[in-house]
Amino acid sequence: MELLSGGDMLVRALQDEGVDLIFGYPGGSALHIYDAIFRQKSIKHILVRHEQGATHAADGYARSTGKVGVVLVTSGPGATNAITGIATAYMDSIPMVVISGQVTSDKIGEDAFQETDMVGCSRPIVKHSFLVKNAENIPEIIKKAFYIANTGRPGPVVVDVPKDVTNPAERYPYQYPEKLRMRSYTPAGKGHGGQIRKAVALLLSARRPVIYAGGGVVQGGGSELLTELARRLNFPVTNTLMGLGAYPGSDKRFLGMLGMHGTFEANTAMHHADVILAVGARFDDRVTNTPSKFCPGAKIIHIDVDPASISKTIVADIPIVGTVQSVLSEMLDTLKSGDEQPDQSAIVDWWRQIDDWRERHGLYTAPRYQTDGALIMPQDVIRAVYDITEGDAYVTSDVGQHQMFAAQYYHFDKPRRWINSGGLGTMGFGLPAALGVKIAYPDKEVVCVTGEGSIQMCIQELSTATQYHLPVKILCLNNQALGMVKQWQEMQYEGRLSNSVYEESLPDFVKLAEAYGHLGVKIEHRDELHGKLQEAFAEKNRTVFIDVYVDPSEHVYPMQVMPNGSMRDMWLSKTERT
């Protein structure tokens, strides 16, 4: 058997796991591993400018490809800088393996230089973690880490590696395990047949159904099956922020996103539904509004791979634990084997009602924002970019108003195209995530929709884009304020704008982009929006920072009424309420 040092074993195990890309940042405790990376060819390492950027880039790569994102950082500050990105991946169930260097085993617990208890720090935000005690265990631990990260409900796994374990002077026999047996971990597979039959019967009896699909459908590869099911039954579909693209966004059965900034028709249909089919969604508080007022007349079918997600906040009438793929395909088989159809006249009436809601306040039947002012409206920017990219771009986003405008106005027809931090709401996510996507799909258009607040949280990654030549488009909806914070302050704090404005301190983003070797474009006037956007997107070979000055007074609507509101209680504009 081949003899390898711990550092070489680690890299070899990653190769044997099929890894070809690592995002990372070197440092003392990780140097043996970095040397092992230097001495091989098959794994490409992307040097980011901050460890948070490494985790978000790996995350963007994972979300867009479905593969496991891999991160390598050093101990201490390297590890703690990765924490925000690990938490981001954890909240959105993204498969990720984070390898962190650690001080030598004999120094652990002595407050050594760059020591931090990474396993302890990351414990509440990982699916699992390992502290490597012996080099011989490396192959098995790596195998387990990837298996755990990418099965069941996916999530990040931390592997903390003390420096002595990777010592190049000590060699051990290397063999990558072919199979794993973990008695304590058996991810859910097929759903319970009886429950699935009950669910199908309930769907067939529905008169006012809604399919509510979340990120689990994207992650679980269930989009096609979900689409087939919805079309077969002629049921309306709404997606969560994480689920956008799980059902084609431009399809007539799509009601738009639901929840806090969901469409009037999606939220109202949910409220009045008699049967809700929730698939890979977790009844997040940004969806349900007040749980006790959530969809009072609805029977709920809940499909999820994670039993702990079921009946956590909203009690399911028919819980089904299983992978989205297997449960949906079994549901379809059951439907196909019988002749039954839902009551067509009831479904037609339901659609008539929904179309009426769409006509009254729908986001896509008429513009629900000012269209005759002098200033550029953020909604128009997203719509223009949707047109220019023909709806086929990978869109990453930061967090705030721009994120909601992108979610509302860019219609995603395919899964894995919309990449945003939905659960944790991490500002700074968008740019590094876009770089991760661009590495995966160099020939595709990748747009990072951001704001002047969010972009400054990971702006150093502009330098990474330069080093690896990653020509993404950065679309900054610049409203010269922390827009969503300001919106809440205007709505709930009588307009006291506590620390949400910059007082003339914003950088010149065009010059900043140029300083990194990129192209900067500033758009300030309504009449130049389309022309300048076209020009910017015609630059296929350069990273372009498009700084668009938008109406700073604009709010995101609809917005659910809080606290104590139900799904259907929404502000539709600054003055109009349902």
Partner: protein, 163 residues
């Protein structure tokens, strides 16, 4: 409602901290907790007493099951079971008090396991309720120090919690 949850988990470093961390992270109560290796050295058995309604207990068991180190668990309070806790107490015992304490120990089927001229150390095993009653019988002013093991439990009959 008071529940006794018994968990079989991998006997690995960090496993206990994951269980305890889960409870603090999700705002669940721990009334008591005991843990020790089983006859199979690769497994630990952890017994925990917690309080919550059915919904909360369901969430607790689901989230415990999600921990990679947890192999199996059972809510002992769902069926008939035996629970025991060990108490050791140092009791002031002078003069006439000595006989009085001794009588109480006999009534509760305890044992005096250490003696000085001024005090007894008493050991009692039983349900938590019985131990509470014993301490009450002794009276506050005679008690110098109390140590309790926390609850361990096992199901009655032929049901076993094993891999």
């Amino acid at each position: 409602m008071r529940r006794i949850i018994s968990v079989l988990m991998e006997n690995e470093p960090g496993a206990l901290s994951r269980v305890v961390g889960l409870f603090s992270q999700r705002g669940y109560n721990i009334e008591s907790l005991t843990v020790a290796p089983t006859e199979d050295a690769t497994l630990s058995r952890l017994t925990m007493v917690t309080i919550g309604d059915d919904h909360k207990i369901e969430q607790i068991t689901k989230n415990l099951n999600k921990l990679i180190d947890v192999v199996k668990l059972v809510d002992l309070t769902e069926g008939s079971h035996i629970e025991r806790e060990l108490l050791m107490v140092k009791v002031r015992a002078n003069g006439a008090q000595r006989d009085e304490v001794k009588r109480s120990v006999d009534i509760f089927r305890g044992q005096i396991v250490d003696v000085t001229s001024n005090m007894y150390t008493v050991q009692v095993a039983g349900t938590s309720e019985k131990l509470d009653a014993f301490l009450q019988a002794l009276g506050e002013h005679t008690i110098m120090e109390v140590v309790r093991s926390g609850v361990s439990g096992i199901a009655r009959g032929e049901k076993v919690l094993s891999v």
